[in-house]
């Protein structure tokens, strides 16, 4: 009798365990902010306590500063960022016709510098690039993510999805193993989130600085003991693109704060 009951219990347990496996249902998607402590949420929501705002201030200076051989500022062509850059971050990474592949917001800024300002590109993760990216991304706050809706991007989204699902590294884990299947659990005390890139570039308390989505992705890849792609690698952009389509419709919160 007792044994029978134990067997039924075991069968029930096995039946409920894999329920989470697979992609996250649309109505269960949550921003990483909802996993944070209330104090960290308050820090993100208060523009005078959110350290990311320091970068947007510097980014605004950059926006209006003349530079390069052509001696032009971003604002000389794009005018007021509040109107011209509204919604831009929500649709990046976007397809660049000349390159024939998707590029993210940082790469777009550097391309514009080269093509129109005839200035040297900023280094990845440099303060200047992060500041300008944060300033542009800030203009899309609250707007729904639309990246990846361009048909030409379909093969790149598919490749990004493959990378997300593919097991790799010494720990033989895929992104999906944590962020699709186990996002309601913890890893060494930290919440495993759903990996929706709603707030990049964001201020990570652990980094003590602002950082890009590519930096975050490289950190994750290092964590599963795989060889991270170089900053700016097409694979990272494809991953960024897939993550953005996965978060389609969610609101941009850049510059966000994360623990």
């Amino acid at each position: 009798m007792r044994r029978g009951r134990a067997m039924v219990l075991a069968a029930l347990l096995i039946a409920t365990l894999p329920a989470r496996a697979g992609e996250i249902p649309q109505d269960e998607r949550r921003s990483g902010a909802t996993f944070m402590a209330p104090q960290t949420q308050a820090m993100q929501d208060d523009d005078t306590a959110n350290p990311g705002m320091l970068w947007t201030l510097e980014g605004e200076e950059q926006w209006n500063k003349k530079t390069g051989v052509s001696d032009k500022a971003c604002s000389d062509c794009h005018g007021d960022a509040q109107t011209s850059m509204k919604g831009v971050a929500a649709r990046y990474p976007a397809f660049d016709r000349e390159l024939g592949r998707p590029i993210d917001l940082e790469q777009r800024i550097n391309l514009e510098r080269r093509r129109h300002q005839q200035a040297s590109p900023f280094a990845y993760e440099s303060r200047d690039l992060l500041a300008l990216t944060a300033f542009v991304a800030q203009q899309s706050r609250g707007m729904p993510i639309t990246a990846g809706s361009d048909e030409e991007l379909a093969p790149f989204v598919a490749r990004g999805r493959e990378l997300f699902m593919q097991r790799e590294g010494q720990l033989n884990l895929s992104c999906a193993n944590c962020h699709d299947d186990n996002w309601d659990k913890h890893l060494a005390g930290s919440a495993i989130t759903q990996a929706h890139p709603t707030g990049y570039p964001l201020y990570r308390l652990e980094w003590q600085t602002l950082g890009s989505l590519q930096r975050r992705l490289r950190g994750c890849i290092f964590g599963i003991r795989a060889q991270p792609y170089d900053l700016g690698a097409p694979e990272l952009v494809e991953l960024e693109l897939y993550l953005m389509t996965r978060a389609a419709g969610m609101a941009i919160e850049a510059p966000a704060v994360r623990p």
Partner: protein, 105 residues
């Protein structure tokens, strides 16, 4: 260097008001080393002060354990209309200042 100051623009005389400041600074501890073993020199803010119409109302000493981009908040009593002046002083001749006005009715 960029700074963010949050002071209420208006207050009633005698109100307790909160002042919040956020300063952009790397706060390098001086204890870290580069990959080849060289010490990364200390670069921190060592002192912060706030003056209310010229009179010092708050001062803090900062140390290497303080996180990057220090956020300092404190309370004071709104006594008269005027200006708050903030000053951050640090290593390698670092000086940054900011101002905020308040109207006290």
């Amino acid at each position: 260097m960029a700074a963010l100051i949050n002071v209420p623009s208006k207050a009633k005389r005698g109100d307790i008001i909160e002042i919040k400041t956020l300063m952009s600074h790397i706060m390098e501890t001086g204890y870290r080393r580069t990959a080849d073993g060289a010490v990364v020199p200390r670069d921190i803010i060592t002192s912060f002060s706030c003056r209310y119409n010229g009179e010092e109302i708050f001062r803090a000493d900062l140390f290497p354990a303080v996180a990057a981009n220090p956020f300092i908040s404190f309370f004071t009593i709104a006594t008269e209309s005027g200006t708050f002046e903030f000053e951050w002083i640090g290593d390698h001749g670092f000086i940054a200042t900011a101002k905020a006005a308040i109207t006290v009715a």
